[in-house]
């Protein structure tokens, strides 16, 4: 019975949520297709081994730990070589990565090294005979494609948040391994890792996203959006392409077809008219609230709840109301 491989992403000495999603998905795949073990690859700076037991909680039978100073700041070449070597040696039937920024960079390299095809940014996958059948949002999220991937191992990247990590505790055995290529010999060198830049919560992780558009009239008015995010406590601030183009917010905050695709519990669209390319980035949010002074704005077509009015007037009132509601518990 072949085993299933999962890549456990970590950063700054901590596992990211997507690592648990990948391991949990591997566990579910293994269980649904006749069993076999889940082997998770955990690589990073020395000390990262301490995180191994957390992976066991989500169903990893084996955690392959690769510790090296040169892996402190990722290191795509060495990680790809290491993952590819392990996947090849282990005869896995499937290898699951997250479609996070790192995963999207890593998995194609691994697939190409192994000479196998891969399915990207999938929201679900299961075996049908020897082939892996996956679902993948395409065409700016307007079409869902069902794809069949043949060849072994089947490599996929799993869309972050598409499948919640489910606990399925296993006694994870730890195996130590060496990087398959010397991290110091990598041709692309990470010179610097700049964390945060003010924003505490990344829009990819936040359960609530409050997002601002042109209706805010100026970069300074984004303070009102930040205040609302702070009132929610667990919110990140997003932006439309129009305001990132104008330099009011950084590009990495842009939500839309050519920006980030998000699916939070709650998306609050503030002063956003609802251009199709923006909606492509947030249409899968569970609940959408829109505030815009134009009653005919397209955003109201996708919103669950809307308020028509001047967002600059309404924001402070909404912020106070949210603060109060949360205080009441």
């Amino acid at each position: 019975m072949a085993n299933t491989f999962a890549f456990a992403e970590s950063r700054g000495g901590a596992l990211r949520r997507v690592a648990f999603e990948a391991v949990s998905a591997a566990r579910a795949l293994a269980d649904a297709s006749g069993g076999g073990e889940v082997h998770a690859l955990l690589a990073g700076a020395p000390g990262v081994a301490a995180l191994a037991s957390e992976l066991g909680k989500y169903g990893a039978d084996v955690v392959i730990v690769v510790e090296h100073a040169g892996l402190a700041n990722a290191n795509a070449e060495s990680l790809a070589a290491t993952a590819a070597a392990r996947i090849k040696a282990g005869g896995y039937r499937a290898a699951i990565f997250s479609a996070s920024a790192q995963g999207r960079d890593l998995a194609p390299r691994v697939a190409a090294q192994l000479g196998v095809s891969m399915a990207a940014d999938v929201t679900s996958f299961e075996f049908a005979g020897d082939a892996l059948v996956v679902r993948h949002p395409a065409y700016a999220g307007k079409v869902i494609a069902t794809l069949k991937l043949t060849g072994s191992p089947a490599i996929v990247t799993l869309r972050p948040g598409a499948r919640a990590a489910v606990e399925a505790a296993r006694e994870a055995r730890v195996e130590s391994a060496q990087p398959a290529s010397d991290p110091g010999a990598s041709k692309v060198v990470v010179k610097e890792m700049i964390v945060g830049g003010g924003a505490k919560l990344d829009i990819g992780d936040a359960p609530v996203i409050v997002s601002g558009g042109r209706g805010l009239k100026s970069a300074e008015n984004f303070k009102l959006v930040e205040d609302l995010a702070a009132a929610f406590g667990n919110a990140a601030v997003g932006a439309t392409r129009a305001v990132t183009d104008d330099g009011w917010r950084p590009h990495s905050d842009q939500i839309g077809q050519t920006g980030r695709q998000v699916s939070p519990e709650l998306y609050v669209a503030l002063g956003i008219s609802g251009a199709i390319q923006h909606i492509a980035g947030m249409r899968n949010s569970r609940t959408i609230v829109a505030i815009n002074k134009d009653k005919e704005a397209p955003i109201f077509k996708v919103a669950d709840y809307g308020i028509v009015g001047d967002v600059i007037e309404i924001l402070p009132v909404l912020t106070a109301a949210v603060k109060e509601a949360r205080a009441k518990g």
């Binding site: 669950d304 308020i307 009015g309 109301a321």
Partner: protein, 250 residues
């Protein structure tokens, strides 16, 4: 510098798509096509690099049927020097097959830099760029939001979730570009005329095996209609109440 840019022809994403009768593709009738957005940034990046750094060559490559020549000519009218069509009946669903065909074309090209868009806006896989780099054995930086090149060395920024990575590498290399890179210029009318005289070569695409097939394409479920809760700041209490009791997100 000798720069190659790989581009893809995609339909206009503003379209309300319909599924074709065969159930495995999008209905193409009435669709308008253009270069994928990020590919446009890649072409623009190449043009700006060669404009700033003295004489060079920008070559654009696209895989697909003859209609992709329209997008190749658009790149030529923006200022690219030469175009290559790798001819195939359709663009495969398998990124590795595409990467193989591109690598075969790029291998002997002597390129200093090979650019891709981060992902095609229709298939949205982000696999072809890094796969091509692996097949060529070249260093690769994906999804860069800035790219500076001097004396055969490159520095780039990559956005991770909640962090930015600054990377350095020597050329030749493969880079895929993301938001933050310059938007595509619109071709000048003289450029459109000049494009007609620039070389556009057609060669067969060497795809090899394809291991991914499309089983089905379907439209996602419609969202249930929402409602306007009220007007002005006065509507806030009702909104908050609904978020608490109905949506249960607060």
């Amino acid at each position: 510098m000798k720069i190659a840019v790989c581009i893809k022809r995609v339909p206009d994403m503003e379209t309300r798509f319909k599924i074709a009768a065969n159930g495995t593709s999008v209905d193409e009738s009435g669709l308008k096509y253009d270069m994928s957005d990020f590919d446009g940034y890649a072409v623009e990046t190449a043009l700006q690099l060669n404009e700033k750094q003295g004489p060079g060559e920008t070559v654009v490559i696209s895989l697909g049927p003859d209609v992709v020549q329209e997008q190749l000519r658009k790149a030529l009218s923006m200022g690219a020097d030469r175009a290559v069509q790798l001819k195939a009946d359709r663009v495969p669903a398998d990124g590795l097959a595409i990467a193989r065909a591109l690598a075969a074309e790029l291998k002997e090209g002597g390129y200093d830099l090979i650019l891709f868009g981060r992902q095609a806006v229709d298939s949205a896989n982000a696999t072809v760029g890094p796969m091509t780099a692996e097949l060529l054995g070249l260093p690769c930086a994906t999804a860069v939001s800035t790219l500076d090149i001097a004396n055969g060395r490159a520095t780039a920024r990559r956005d991770l979730e909640g962090a930015t990575e600054v990377v350095e590498f020597a050329l030749p290399a493969v880079v895929s570009v993301d938001e933050g890179m310059p938007r595509a210029r619109y071709p000048s009318l003289k450029g459109i005329m000049a494009a007609k005289k620039k070389p556009l070569e057609v060669k067969p695409a060497q795809l090899g095996d394809e291991r991914i097939s499309i089983e089905k394409m379907e439209l996602p479920p419609e969202r249930a209609a929402g409602r306007i809760v009220g007007e002005g700041p006065g509507a806030v209490p009702e909104l908050v109440r609904l978020l608490h009791t109905e949506a249960k997100v607060l």
